[in-house]
């Protein structure tokens, strides 16, 4: 096991890793930018090294400074957290060349899965379903009709050079497809100077379901069941939970097995998340792999009782996974709300600045993961999340009730937070009944 590791991150995840290390008897070296100087969580590390000015590009993202801090700090490994350098295969490579363990997958696995198209290829080979599509450009109507009949209506027409919805069309039958193909081609030509379009099955009201996986260096790979993360705003997750509500047990098991199959096929090691979309008929399709720990990992920890950060560190150090698949059981229901320094009444405008006072919720089944404290100043330089409120209860109904009372207890003064918005979401019938899809927040709360 390691004696000393460096944490190449900031804020709540840095504190999360410091806590795990303290409990494991591992010394920690924290790095910080000048904007984070004086943050209380840095006092909990054994050493804290300033690596640059506020701008991430010159501090948290600056590979040579992080590595230099690791050398000066005399550590054996680096935990990258999430964001910043966590999925940077080059950084991972540099760590290896400097003989510092990177607590995460190998650079090779990261590279392989980092490209979405290659990842889809890998999934196909591992017999993990991906969203069916034409596989190549559609040149004429006849081909379009043929493909559409193969994959089934409705279909989505996408511009190969596209982005931002431009050149995208949904077609539900032959007639619409015939006209839409041409329109899409014309639009794509105008927008991107490239008329190439392809077809993909259109998933209506998809749910975002992801599977937590972890594998050691000895060939053991397990999943820690799934998380439902469909409550999103602009593709940013707001609320995550485990287990996913209204997911048939056989689907749950099939998705989780598929995730393990996929990571085993690339000899993936350490923690990762395999993301899927699930349609209204519970068909699931692989989307991508996040080759790192995720913000929402605590909900999995609550229901499985497994400390994922500790597990990451252990397997990176070469220890075998201390549990096998049969020992990973989901107990009860866990929900996480991301508390952001944003004003939900003003289009989620960021609200940095000094937190004059904060009362944190407590009690049975409540976990608050946050690095902030009274007097803390939310810097404007980084993402707006100031903490994660997580609850764990025997049933989902009780978890929602517990989250509501915990959100009532949470009081942050001096800045705006998204806590009030979470309360509205948690009380909406669609959420309560567990039928949220990824369009839920925009459809219900943000359209006027």
């Amino acid at each position: 096991m390691y004696n000393r590791i460096l944490i190449a991150n900031r804020g709540e995840i840095a504190l999360r890793i410091i806590r795990a290390c303290r409990e494991m008897g591992i010394e920690t070296v924290a790095v910080f930018s000048e904007a984070d100087r004086g943050s209380a969580y840095l006092d909990l590390a054994d050493e804290a090294i300033c690596v640059g000015p506020a701008k991430s590009a010159q501090s948290y993202l600056k590979i040579d400074q992080i590595i230099s801090a690791a050398e000066v700090g005399n550590v054996e490994a680096i935990h990258p957290g999430y964001g910043f350098l966590a999925e940077n295969a080059h950084f991972n490579e540099v760590c290896r060349s400097c003989k510092i363990d990177f607590i995460g997958p190998t650079p090779e696995a990261m590279d392989l899965l980092g490209d979405k198209n290659r990842a889809r290829e890998i999934a196909r080979k591992a017999k993990v379903p991906v969203v069916p599509g034409s596989g190549g450009l559609i040149t004429d109507e006849a081909e379009a009709l043929k493909v559409a009949h193969e994959i089934g209506f409705p279909v989505l027409i996408k511009a190969t050079a596209g982005g931002g919805g431009k050149g995208m069309r949904v077609a539900a039958n032959d007639l619409v497809l015939q006209t839409a193909i041409q329109q899409a081609q014309t639009e794509a030509q105008a927008a991107f100077g490239n008329a190439g379009v392809y077809l993909e099955k259109y998933i209506e009201r998809p749910r975002h379901v992801e599977v937590q996986v972890i594998a050691d260096l000895h060939g053991n790979a397990v999943h820690l069941w799934e998380r439902e993360c469909s409550t999103q705003r602009r593709h940013q997750k707001l609320i995550e939970e485990s287990p996913a509500p209204n997911l048939p047990q056989e689907t749950r098991e099939a998705i989780c097995s598929a995730a393990v199959r996929l990571i085993e096929s690339v000899n993936y090691t350490n923690a990762g998340t395999v993301e899927f979309i699930v349609d209204q008929e519970n068909n699931f399709y692989f989307i991508e792999v996040n080759a790192r720990i995720q913000v929402e990992h605590p909900v999995t920890e609550m229901v499985t009782g497994i400390d994922l950060i500790r597990a990451q560190i252990s397997v990176a150090a070469g220890e075998p996974l201390p549990f096998d698949q049969s020992a990973v059981v989901q107990h009860g229901s866990a929900i996480e709300c991301r508390i952001n320094a944003e004003n939900p009444d003003r289009n989620f405008q960021p609200s940095p600045g000094p937190i004059t006072q904060i009362f944190t919720p407590g009690g049975l089944g409540v976990r608050f993961e946050s690095h902030v404290h009274p007097g803390y100043v939310v810097p404007p330089h980084y993402d707006s999340m100031i903490g994660k409120l997580i609850v764990h209860q025997p049933t989902r109904r009780e978890a929602i009730a517990c989250m509501l009372r915990a959100l009532d207890e949470l009081r942050v003064e001096g800045i705006h937070t998204t806590a009030s918005f979470h309360k509205k979401v948690l009380q909406h019938s669609e959420f309560v009944e567990g039928w949220v899809d990824t369009s839920f927040v925009e459809r219900v709360f943000l359209t006027k």
Partner: protein, 159 residues
């Protein structure tokens, strides 16, 4: 009287602003000037309860160093500039163990004078002074691990 009021009376805005400027520059929270019948008293920034809400263990991340190359000890002598480390690494005062130091107290340096080496990732980075002046203090010791912004030298730019 009219004369004095415009060019130095307590209500003279120019003088008032000059005092405020000096307060900002030297981070003064309170100034009181009194001369027989004249009196000027100014407080700035207030928040007397700062120590309550921002205890030592939790110094807010509010006021980051204004920039790494700014003089840190302006209050001492505005001409003395503190040269800070531009990177994390190991400090060396000389090119090799047997050589003499790049600079020592009393030496005059130019902006391009190498004043030390910071080793980072096996690379020995020569650090130039970036200003002209006389070295008045060396603040790091050989082979010391230095972080970004660590004060390395004091240089008197009036010298």
């Amino acid at each position: 009287m009219a004369e004095s009021e415009s060019s130095g009376g307590v209500f003279d805005e120019q003088r008032f602003l000059r005092i405020v400027e000096l307060m900002k520059e030297h981070d003064l929270s309170e100034v009181e000037l009194r001369d027989s019948e004249q009196r000027i008293s100014i407080k700035r920034g207030g928040t007397p309860a700062a120590p309550l809400t921002a205890p030592s263990v939790a110094a807010p991340a509010s006021a980051p160093a204004a920039g790494s190359s700014q003089p840190a000890a302006a209050a001492e002598d505005p001409n003395v500039v503190v040269v800070k480390s531009p990177m994390v690494g190991t400090f060396y005062s000389k090119p090799n163990p047997k050589a003499a130091s790049f600079v020592k107290v009393g030496d005059h340096v130019d902006p391009e004078t190498t004043i030390c080496i910071i080793e980072a990732m096996k690379v020995f980075n020569e650090i130039p002074a970036e200003i002209s002046g006389k070295v008045v203090a060396v603040l790091a010791t050989d082979e010391e691990a230095v972080e970004f912004g660590k004060p390395l030298f004091k240089i008197d730019t009036s010298g």
